[in-house]
Symmetry: C2
Subunit: 348 residues, 2 copies
Amino acid sequence: MDISTAYKDNNYKIHVARNILENRLNTYTEQYESVYYIIDENVYDIYKDTKLSFIKSPLVVTEGESFKYVSPLMHTMEELLAAGIKRNSLLVVIGGGATGDAGGFIASIVLRGVDYIHVPTTLLAHDSAIGGKTAINSEHGKNLIGAFYRPKAVIYDLEFLDSLPRAEVLSGFGEVYKHAMLNSPELSEELVNITADSIDVDELPAFIIKGIETKMKIVIEDEHESGSRKFLNLGHTLAHAVEYKYKIPHGQAVMLGIIAALYISNELNGTDFNIGNHIDYMRRHGYPVNLLKEMDIDEMMQLMMKDKKNHRNDYISYIVFKDQNTPEVMDIKIENLKKILAALKERI
Amino acid sequence: MDISTAYKDNNYKIHVARNILENRLNTYTEQYESVYYIIDENVYDIYKDTKLSFIKSPLVVTEGESFKYVSPLMHTMEELLAAGIKRNSLLVVIGGGATGDAGGFIASIVLRGVDYIHVPTTLLAHDSAIGGKTAINSEHGKNLIGAFYRPKAVIYDLEFLDSLPRAEVLSGFGEVYKHAMLNSPELSEELVNITADSIDVDELPAFIIKGIETKMKIVIEDEHESGSRKFLNLGHTLAHAVEYKYKIPHGQAVMLGIIAALYISNELNGTDFNIGNHIDYMRRHGYPVNLLKEMDIDEMMQLMMKDKKNHRNDYISYIVFKDQNTPEVMDIKIENLKKILAALKERI
Ligand SMILES: NC(=O)c1ccc[n+]([C@@H]2O[C@H](COP(=O)([O-])OP(=O)(O)OC[C@H]3O[C@@H](n4cnc5c(N)ncnc54)[C@H](O)[C@@H]3O)[C@@H](O)[C@H]2O)c1
Ligand SMILES: NC(=O)c1ccc[n+]([C@@H]2O[C@H](COP(=O)([O-])OP(=O)(O)OC[C@H]3O[C@@H](n4cnc5c(N)ncnc54)[C@H](O)[C@@H]3O)[C@@H](O)[C@H]2O)c1
């Protein structure tokens, strides 16, 4: 399945299917004078003798998030320059969202920009296939340094997902779930039904594709995060705080954040999301729902108030639902939010 | 005098005049929630109690080229983040081309891009007012890491030039001269006449403005350096080698490179530039013309061959004149170029 982006210009294809990497890549690489590979070390270890054996002298980089810092980034950039990268070279970045973010950022600044292709290897990284965001972390927080820079293509070879650790499947599924909720109640229901007993990545391709399309629709409506793009933060306000405090994978925290968002929607907008069902479902699949019971509300509030998306004092911006179909941004008074989260805590 | 860029979009104004900084800046800063200043230490030392006294808590950065490296750059970026820079903040960068290059690069990547204004304080920096290039240096060479990122405005307050050291005046004048040559024989002649006895920056504003306009015309014809933008490298092929070897300021090396380019044009294209006059003129103003006599031709060739603009083996791309009016890119056989430069050496 190929998805094409629908920007005004600089569009690219997102190829999604099993076992497509080498063939698809060939159709691109032949247009370049030289090709350089940046590969996550865990991914390379697993696939170097199989799927990735066609790659000669890759730059194997430190795993996941540990690559999203200036010092490993600069090291790899200097290696590329030492190896003779040119403006008409292609950079291929193979790994999860973290490797993609840092590798894409390198592509955006080396020689003031070379073309790159991202090959996502995690479920969560379906999220970064669209949006053109690249970034690394600063001492002062995640993703504070980066660029908007689109790849020439995304080649999402789903075979990589076979080796994904369970914790990462749960994390990636959090964003798949979020995109389904932002798409429609019908799609969410379908997703919940198909994963009622277990989350099997083999059953997810259609939802991954829908997820990418949903994100694309939102991103294109609002390329610079002033309006509807904020909806993509569904579940993220509380998630960032929980993630920071309890060091759980991002998408798992998003799932907990979604429970909170639905609960708040019921309280403030009179929606009737079945919170009990959502909690049961997430517990069943191993999400750490109990953190919503353990959390210290004052501490979470402090962390949320630091969130860069807030623009009014004494208020926190939260993505909630106006009705089952319609997300919206709501500025909630801090005291009010505290009370609602305390009530949610009691319900867990 | 205000020049407006003529891109398809994201245009900006270049304000050129004496004593305009504070007033002009005010018309921009009021549109932003907060404003941060990056200022070259030498410039700040000279003007902190006068022109720059209106600025509270600037980030004063290491002088000129020494700022164009990852480590001082990151230090300043973290300072900006610590100070609470937001997406809707404005960054004002005050200094020469080097401070502008690194400060513009910071603006392009902090929070994935904030608006910035460059306030050039050198003669050479008229060259960076157009083109949208920002960059820092790599271990492997100058300007290898950067971004194309346009300022919101350039405020070129010519009063800063009063304190410019003589060597920097000569350097900046090299690019003024180059732009005049790329513009027309008439403009070059006028420039040579007005500077026959001495190079007085007070007499240059009209030529600075013409220089900016000439560069703009070329850059807009060719935004991504495939065609006519290469003409801006007039004098630069040999200059880079001379500059690297003898550590003289960039624009002074460009002047020597222009002599070589004119000599080559005479030899290969039958133009009749008066080399003797050019040499006399440059000597009179203190350009180190004798380096053209001292230089080891094999060594210069080696350095030129490393130049990233070369694409054919055994050839060096050189900007020459087809006739007095028309620059062109010529691929010159290495053996041939060696002979011509050896003959030029004899003539000095
Ligand atoms: N740019 C965007 O739009 C965007 C969107 C979402 C997330 N992100 C970023 O993505 C990052 C999270 O991405 P992620 O969850 O993919 O994490 P990740 O890239 O950190 O990978 C998680 C772990 O899984 C390992 N791994 C990757 N692929 C594997 C495979 N096929 N088999 C076995 N192990 C594998 C990695 O080595 C790592 O240890 C964050 O830094 C986040 O900021 C960016
Ligand atoms: N982006 C572009 O398009 C572009 C174009 C041309 C040059 N550049 C870059 O610009 C740099 C050279 O610029 P530059 O020649 O302006 O040098 P610079 O910024 O290094 O400044 C030269 C010296 O003059 C000092 N100085 C600056 N302004 C002064 C003033 N008003 N009074 C007294 N001292 C002052 C500086 O502290 C420094 O020591 C190079 O790094 C080059 O790559 C970029």
